[in-house]
Amino acid sequence: MKVTFPHMGHMWICLQAMLEYLGVEVVVPPPSSKRTLSLGSKHSPEFACMPLKLNLGNFMEAAERGADTIVMAGGCGPCRFGYYAQVEHEILKDLGYNYHLVVMEPPEKHIGELLAKIRYITGKSSWLEVIRGIRFGYRKALAVDELERLAMVRRPREIKMGSTDGALQQALAEVVRATDFRELEKASAGGIEIMREVRTEERPVLRVALVGEIYTLLEPFANQDIERRLGSMGIEVDRSIYLSEWVNDHLFMGFIRGLRSSKEYCRSASPYLNHFVGGHGQETVGSAVFYARSGYNGIIQLLPFTCMPEIVAQSILPGVSNDLDIPIMTLIVDEQSGEAGMTTRLEAFNDLLYRKSSAKEVLA
């Protein structure tokens, strides 16, 4: 059995760690690329959202490397994600791929269903080991999040262009290499040290928050590397969702308690959107309110073309923008989005924020 899974930013680090810790043979698909997208789009429904197309491409590319089993998350609606795995599997079947599919999702009838699936993947490991494996993967997710956060703060202040990204790659590689808890602890500390060594200077920076659909937020290929682009324009970025939060909610079914939970965001969404709408639609509205109140200069909403929960959020964000006096821009990505278009829009947004913040300073 060779297990693969779809990409979503750095999620592979966490999943690979968890599975290999349990002695499962893993095939990490090649990073999502133009080829992945064109393979996936060719065989997906035209109006499927982009994550589905990229997932499919990942599986096709992983098969080239010998993968025969897919592990992925599922769900029970109302958003499409809950039916991704099944549709992808039907497509793969018709294309002649012989994949075994294991979907981690809230069981329809009995918790036993989920346990049996974990058993199937992890083979003879004891439950205690399985729990340790999950913890190990989760620790890696936390380490990755920490490094990404540091990068977002340092990028706009770096003295030498590109030094933050070099350091980030180096630090992540340390985390990837760790094979047990002890090594991981050292690797995280070492990684943080590497990030601290990036030379920066104090300068006034604008702060922008990225909110929206989780996959587009976490996958640099899908968002055309927006964090790096903003960083190099001298903007400090934060993002409404981090890997560890998603992994805990969707893969571990909330197994790890006491995290910053999306409930907080949902409360801030009132009175604009008083009900969940699937995906992270309500969180998008709530986090926009949260960032506006925390003094951010601007907000960018990211979503894939046809994403339903985010279209609801998009309709509601202008109200937030007006009431709380904060510029909000919506960026929709699909397989046709060009780089040039993205650059122009980010530059225009940057100018707008810059003018707005200097106007404020003059008044103050």
Binding site: C49, G77, P78, Q86, V277, T306, V312, S315, I332
Partner: protein, 329 residues
């Protein structure tokens, strides 16, 4: 003066209008409905909502804007109409979208209709609606019972082969009335149309698809003419339970009609960029291919779809069926 409640002729109107209307009328209110969809209604709706919304949502915005004269507009949040299922994320957010995007509207009645946990939670939704209107609880309960009865009758009329708007017209008639049309219609070749009710029954959105097929000499059936058991039974063939009620009905209906030799062809109507359709449409098409045989037409509609193109494709589809009928297969 009686209070006027506005109900947009959009979204789940085609399934639930008799139920809603009965409820409000039994509370002594007057119900007003927006007219049939026109280009003007669509344009008004499209101006009010974001570009990315699907055609039926834009049309629904237009219908809401038609109801400015009403004293309030009934715009329930339709979370779930069947246990364990939803409709679409956009239905969950529709009332909030309207509230944010459309100004100068009469007050909106935005009660949650949520039967995700239990079928019986429908009463809670009506009793909340009654409370918002300030009606007496006993009267509300009575109105709710009458509303349920009206809904049952509506569904049974649909299952006897009526189209929703004809069933609405018959709603007041005694039960024995309304035996289906004349003999000649019964003996026509049958074509199945599968799609969201607000697409296939809205003559403007569907470009009169059903009427055109009837004119071309066919009898038309849809997923709504099938019983709940039949729909569930066939949807049960999917790899996983579908959690969208409309999508589940459509897929179950398509699978049923595909395996029924009396059905000569199948039309699937999807909204451009519709989330659920992108998934269920894909499954339906794969089944059509695997099960082979029947003429199949997939129409994807939005405000830019040209009528001429649809007409040509429809003709090619009906020609194909007629050819097969002539050759006796």
């Amino acid at each position: 003066m009686t209070i006027k409640i506005g109900i947009p002729r959009a979204l789940l109107f085609y399934q639930y209008f008799p139920m809603w209307k009965t409820f409000f009328e039994k509370l002594g209110l007057q119900v007003v409905v927006s007219g049939h969809t026109t280009k003007g209604i669509l344009e008004k709706g499209a101006r009010l909502c974001v570009d990315e919304a699907c055609l039926p949502v834009k049309v629904a915005f237009g219908h809401v804007a038609e109801l400015k004269e009403a004293d309030s507009i009934f715009l329930p949040r339709l979370v779930s109409v069947s246990p364990g299922e939803y409709i679409c994320p956009k239905f969950l957010g529709f009332p909030d979208m309207v509230k944010q995007c459309a100004q100068d509207l009469p007050p909106l009645i935005m009660t949650n209709f949520n039967q995700y946990r239990r079928e019986g939670d429908l009463y809670a939704a009506f009793s909340e609606t009654g409370r918002v209107l300030g009606s007496n609880p006993a009267k509300v309960y009575f109105a709710y019972r009458e509303a349920l009865r009206a809904h049952k009758r509506h569904t049974s009329l649909l299952q006897r082969g009526y189209m929703p708007e004809d069933a609405v017209k018959l709603a007041g008639e005694p039960p024995e009335k309304g035996s289906l049309e004349q003999e000649d219609v019964r003996s026509r070749p049958v074509v199945a149309v599968i799609g969201h009710p607000y697409n296939i029954y809205d003559g403007f959105i569907s470009m009169n698809l059903i009427k055109r097929l009837e004119k071309a000499g066919f009898r038309v059936v849809t997923q709504d003419h099938l019983s709940e058991e039949t729909l569930r039974h066939h949807a049960g063939r999917l790899p996983k339970k579908l959690f969208w009620t409309l999508g589940r009905n459509m897929t179950g209906g398509a699978l049923h009609y595909l395996s029924d030799p009396g059905i000569k062809g199948l039309v699937h109507v999807a909204s451009f960029a519709c989330g659920p359709d992108s998934m269920t449409g894909e499954l339906i098409e794969r089944f059509v291919r695997r099960m082979g045989g029947k003429p199949f037409l997939n129409l994807t509609l939005d405000e830019h779809t040209g009528e001429a193109g649809v007409v040509t494709r429809l003709e090619a589809f009906t020609d194909m069926i007629n050819l097969r009928l002539a050759s006796g297969s």
